[in-house]
């Protein structure tokens, strides 16, 4: 169907631009000059950003809620009709803006960051391909199109994590990421199939219209939502499938910023927010999500406390922030989750890019213990990074404050314990972020070999823009408490049906905010004392003192546990099947039949002794036997 909104059909341009960029840069990667690819790719993404902006306004101006643009029939087998269609509504347009906007900035940034890499062209090709898949993911009008993007971004992240393919560890990390995603994807595809059997369709509009009629808590819906959740858990790096994300930092830093902070990992959040109607019908799943989200948030935050690799710290913070979003989803506050997703996209991209510029400046050094005192050397990076840190720590009026505060409030509504746990996680986050900040920018420089310098403008400008967003992004959705009208949520509520809507009393809210702010201040001061006043240099992973500390710095040995639980047994099983069963049992059985027959054959041949008297005997024996036979039978 073609929507009545003017020019809305131009939506196909949005993914088309990056695809075009991918094809050009991909095919011409041996011909394009050094910067051409980067500029081209960035232009493409920027163009699709402008297009989505245009679409945003057209959608806004026209009172309509959504529009579906059908390109062609993708799979139509019998009663299974799956068109290749895009759905443009408030949720998808938001995601499109985030993806293309942040994506464009990161592309531009990469021009400077990847300047010296000899495979810069294929880098940009892959980045464009990623943007394309991500756009498919957010624009798809049914679950299967979403799944295309879903797997596409997984594959692109595989490519980009293993971008420096000479290093086996990077390749391993890439494979790990892809396989873990695939585990989630299996659940996801099964969920889709069940959806199809239930509603005879996988398109969002039809599924949701029909689902509205179902009664809550039906086991089938629960099963479906859980299966979809499995997919989301894999993609959004929740417990137990989160371990790939920290390893994914093997990729170039812009990749970490775009894929593993801003966009791809939030796909799970998007998908669940998109299916909010279904999830509202499955309270069990919602509770599971609360548990998962909270656990992940705190667990990852704790691990983040003792990480010394700048990107690893950010990675774990990403995991824990995603945990918060899951918490919000579990609480039924989908719009809050998406809001946090948005702000997080801003400040986490900012932080990663800042880290990238630091690493760039330090000549590839990523260990924060070897940094320090960079405040003077790279002021812009410092300021932007500071903005990001404040935002993620939830200091008002930075964007993180509004989004996180919203989630905490919802937690409090459902139960104070939740609130306390969530707050604890927030405090930990605050601590390790400031630890990072102090260690990197304060004190004196601990690495004398490198000569840190401010990054070129092509890298700093995106930082500045992002920092602006990180600072003021929160004002998109000012709660009524501060005289706002939470426009963002209202905007989204046209596409999402949240479970929780009621505003709580202003007094309690103020109380909560005050408490949290006090604690935050205390935490920041603690960090300051430890790392600036005493200028403590955190010990390496090896020489950690207490068992607990050791455990933390070894990430609770989760990787080792997984290795022993899954990887080693799998290899062993493979060897066992092949060396024991295939070689020693199945194959020999067949051969043995042949061998036995031929042995028997030799015996029979030996009967033929060539001696006459034996032949006579044999003949007479035969005759006598037959005589007896016929006389008794």
């Amino acid at each position: 169907m073609v929507a009545s909104i003017p020019y809305i059909t131009l939506a196909w341009l949005v993914p088309a631009f990056p695809l075009l960029g991918f094809l050009i840069t991909g095919l011409g990667k041996n011909r394009l000059k050094h910067n051409q690819a980067g500029i081209l790719a960035s232009t493409m993404v920027a163009l699709s950003f402008l297009t989505s902006l245009f679409l945003f306004f057209t959608l806004r101006s026209s009172g309509q809620e959504s529009a579906t643009i059908t390109l062609f029939n993708w799979i139509s087998a019998g009663d299974m009709k799956i068109p290749f269609a895009f759905l443009i509504d408030h949720l998808s347009i938001t995601m499109m803006l985030i993806v293309t906007g942040v994506g464009a900035l990161i592309h531009i940034y990469s021009i400077g960051y990847m300047h010296d890499d000899e495979r810069v062209n294929s880098f940009f090709a892959q980045m464009n391909l990623f943007t394309f898949s991500m756009l498919l993911l957010v624009m798809g009008a049914n679950y299967l199109i979403l799944f295309i993007g879903w797997e596409g971004v997984g594959f692109c992240s595989y490519l980009l994590i293993g971008f420096w393919f000479k290093n086996p560890e990077f390749n391993y990390a890439a494979r790990k990421a892809f396989v873990m995603n695939r585990i989630g994807d299996l659940g996801f595809i099964l969920g889709i199939i069940l959806l199809f059997f239930t509603f005879k369709s996988v398109s969002f509009t039809e599924v949701f219209t029909q689902a509205a009629t179902l009664q809550a808590g039906a086991p089938l819906i629960t099963l479906i939502t859980i299966l979809l959740l499995v997919g989301a858990v894999g993609k959004s790096a929740q417990i137990p499938l989160y371990t790939w994300l920290p390893d994914a930092m093997a990729g170039p830093t812009p990749v970490s910023a775009l894929i593993h902070a801003a966009t791809m990992v939030t796909a799970g959040i998007y998908m669940i927010a998109r299916s909010s109607i279904l999830y509202n019908l499955a309270p069990i799943t919602l509770n599971i999500m609360i548990g998962l989200g909270l656990a992940t948030a705190i667990f990852a935050a704790i691990i983040g406390l003792r990480q010394n690799d700048i990107k690893k710290v950010l990675a774990y913070s990403t995991v824990s922030q995603l945990g918060y979003m899951f918490l919000a989803l579990g609480l039924g506050a989908y719009s809050s989750a998406v809001f946090h997703l948005t702000t997080h996209a801003f400040f986490k991209a900012l932080l990663f890019l800042g880290a990238g510029s630091i690493i760039h400046a330090m000549g590839g050094e990523q260990d924060i213990r070897k940094m320090g005192g960079l405040r003077k050397k790279m002021p812009i990076t410092y300021l932007t990074f500071l903005a990001g840190t404040l935002a993620i720590s939830g200091i008002p009026p930075f964007s993180g404050f509004f989004s996180k505060d919203l989630i905490l409030n919802h937690a409090f509504e459902s139960s104070p314990i939740l609130y306390i746990l969530a707050l604890g996680g927030a405090l930990i986050t605050c601590f390790y972020m400031f630890r990072l900040l102090y260690l990197v920018f304060f004190g004196n420089q601990r690495l004398d070999t490198a000569h840190p310098h401010e990054s070129p403008r092509v890298m700093t400008i995106p930082l500045i823009i992002l920092s602006i967003l990180a600072v003021f992004g929160g004002f998109l959705n000012i709660p009524s408490l501060f005289g706002g009208e939470s426009g963002f949520s209202d905007f989204l509520h046209k596409a999402i049906t949240s479970k929780v809507t009621e505003e709580m009393g202003a007094s309690t809210e103020i109380g909560l905010i005050a408490a949290s702010l006090a604690l935050l201040g205390f935490i920041i001061f603690m960090a300051y004392r430890t790392y600036v006043k005493k200028s403590v240099i955190p010990a390496g992973d090896k020489e950690s003192q207490s068992v607990f500390a050791k455990a933390i710095s070894n990430k609770f040995y989760i990787d080792q546990i997984y290795a022993t639980l899954f990887e080693k047994p799998f290899g062993f099983l493979s060897d066992f099947f092949f060396k024991q069963i295939e070689i020693k049992v199945l194959d020999p059985i067949i051969d043995e039949i042949g061998i036995l027959t031929s042995k028997l054959g030799d015996q029979v041949r030996k009967l033929q002794q060539g001696i006459m008297s034996f032949y006579f005997f044999a003949m007479v024996a035969g005759i006598l036997l037959f005589i007896i036979f016929i006389l008794i039978v």
């Binding site: 042949g594 027959t597 031929s598 028997l600 054959g601 030799d602 015996q603 029979v604 041949r605 009967l607 033929q608 060539g610 006459m612 032949y615 006579f616 044999a618 003949m619 024996a621 035969g622 005759i623 037959f626 005589i627 036979f629 016929i630 006389l631 039978v633």
Partner: protein, 457 residues
């Protein structure tokens, strides 16, 4: 009848030609004789003429078999032209004896009286005893004829004893009367008659080398001159089965239960023993001997699943089998000469390298023996299975199918040799005539496989 007489006459003529020390004319004369008698016997088609107080009935059945045997014999004689080049003396006798054996075979196809059957068998056998020992100086040939003779006459003794017992019981040698005589017992025969019939069957079974009376055949096949082996493997077997079928069809069917069971046992034994013994066989002639035993089993299967079309299936099977066997012996003899006298399977190595077309035709022939489409051998087996399965002998058919699989193994083992490299290839030279024979047979096997040919008998 005239065919038989003329054949005898020609045998004597060839014998006398032997005095003129001119080998070149022997084969042509003999072959003309065969051709003429073929024409004569075809002339009797459909007449169903009876001779000697109905002791001989020349009906379509016998004519069909005679003609097929004549064709095979002609092929063998053509092969003989080149084969007997080296032999200085007594070439005439070879041809003559084979012709005489053929007359015996004719009797076997057309008897309706046990005396005639006996005479036929003996007239067929006695020349063969001599032919088997054709190479006087060679031990193996000598041994072959020796074993063949002793075991043969031993079996004949039992055969005769059987006839005597049957005669004692039924007071006649005529098959139809014997049939009526048996019918009156409706199944429960007196032991003497039963034993007699058993002995008669065993006598014939010995001739067609059915296990467990097959012991002579591998040794004799191996020892005899290759051409004689070819003759035995094809014509003699055909004649034997013609006689066997006639015996059952005219006289003994429906067989009394015990006897039928005996024959089934023999069938399965032949399939099993032949295959297993052939499995690791290294001597090609012995291999073919054992495989011949297996084919005997299949023919028995066709014969025992008593059906109107059994006769034509039997005819088809024997003819196709002979048609594939003769050229194989021709190829074999060339490889043997190329590898100066060896008979191992390894002599076939490098055939594909030297004479690709020969290898190809060998493939076709072996496929036919193994029973793979699109050759005639497949169709023959297919029709046999159709008979047995439609008669409901499922278990035995499955058994036979498994046996066919084993058979494929050793045939393709030989084939693999032919298509693998040889380390010291000697030149293979082959005359145009033999090449033509191989090609004609191969093509015939293919065509018979593609376009079914059934004779209403």
């Amino acid at each position: 009848m005239s065919a038989i007489i003329l054949l005898t006459v020609f045998g004597i003529i060839v014998l006398y030609l032997g005095f003129a020390e001119n080998k070149t004319i022997l084969a042509p004369v003999a072959i003309t004789g065969l051709v003429i008698s073929m024409v004569l016997s075809i002339k009797d088609w459909g007449l169903g003429s009876k001779y000697f107080h109905d002791m001989m009935i020349i009906d379509n059945f016998s004519i069909a078999f005679n003609v097929s045997m004549l064709i095979i014999t002609i092929l063998i004689f053509l092969f003989g032209i080149n084969y007997y080049k080296r032999m200085e003396h007594h070439v005439a006798e070879q041809y003559a004896l084979m012709i005489f054996a053929l007359t015996g075979a004719f009797l076997m196809t057309s008897f309706s009286n046990l005396i005639m059957l006996f005479l036929g068998i003996e007239i067929l056998s006695i020349p063969l005893y001599i032919l088997a020992g054709g190479k006087k100086s060679s031990f193996r040939s000598n041994e072959a004829s020796f074993k063949y003779f002793l075991l043969g006459s031993f079996a004949t003794a039992f055969f005769l004893f059987g006839i005597a017992l049957v005669y004692g019981a039924s007071a006649t040698f005529y098959l139809p009367e014997i049939k009526n005589y048996i019918a009156q017992f409706n199944g429960h025969l007196p032991p003497m008659l039963m034993v007699g019939l058993l002995f008669i069957l065993i006598g014939v079974a010995f001739k067609v080398a059915v296990a467990p009376f097959h012991f002579w055949s591998p040794d004799v096949y191996e020892g005899s001159p290759t051409l004689v082996t070819a003759f035995m493997a094809t014509v003699v077997k055909t004649a034997g089965f013609a006689a066997f079928y006639r015996l059952l069809g005219m006289g003994l069917l429906p067989l009394p239960g015990p006897l039928e069971k005996t024959l089934w046992v023999m069938t399965m034994l032949s399939l099993l023993v032949g295959n297993l013994a052939a499995l690791n066989q290294t001597n090609f002639k012995r291999l073919l001997a054992y495989s011949a035993i297996v084919h005997t089993g299949f023919m028995m299967l066709a014969m025992l699943s008593q059906h109107d079309s059994s006769a034509s299936v039997l005819l088809y099977y024997t003819f196709v089998y002979s048609l594939a066997t003769v050229p194989l012996f021709i190829i074999f003899i060339h490889m043997k000469r190329a590898s100066n006298g060896l008979e191992e399977l390894s002599i076939f190595r490098g055939l594909y390298k030297q004479k690709p077309w020969m290898a190809v035709f060998m493939t076709i022939l072996l496929m036919s023996l193994a029973g793979l489409p699109p050759t005639a051998g497949f169709l023959a087996k297919y029709r046999v299975f159709i008979l047995s399965i439609s008669r409901g002998y499922l278990a035995i058919s499955i058994f036979a199918i498994i046996m066919a699989i084993i058979g494929i193994y050793y045939y393709f083992y030989v084939l693999r040799e032919a298509f693998s490299e040889s380390n010291d290839p000697n030149p293979i030279e082959i005359t145009k005539l033999n090449a033509a024979l191989i090609i004609v047979c191969g093509v015939a096997v293919l065509l018979l496989g593609l376009f079914v040919w059934t004779v209403p008998i």
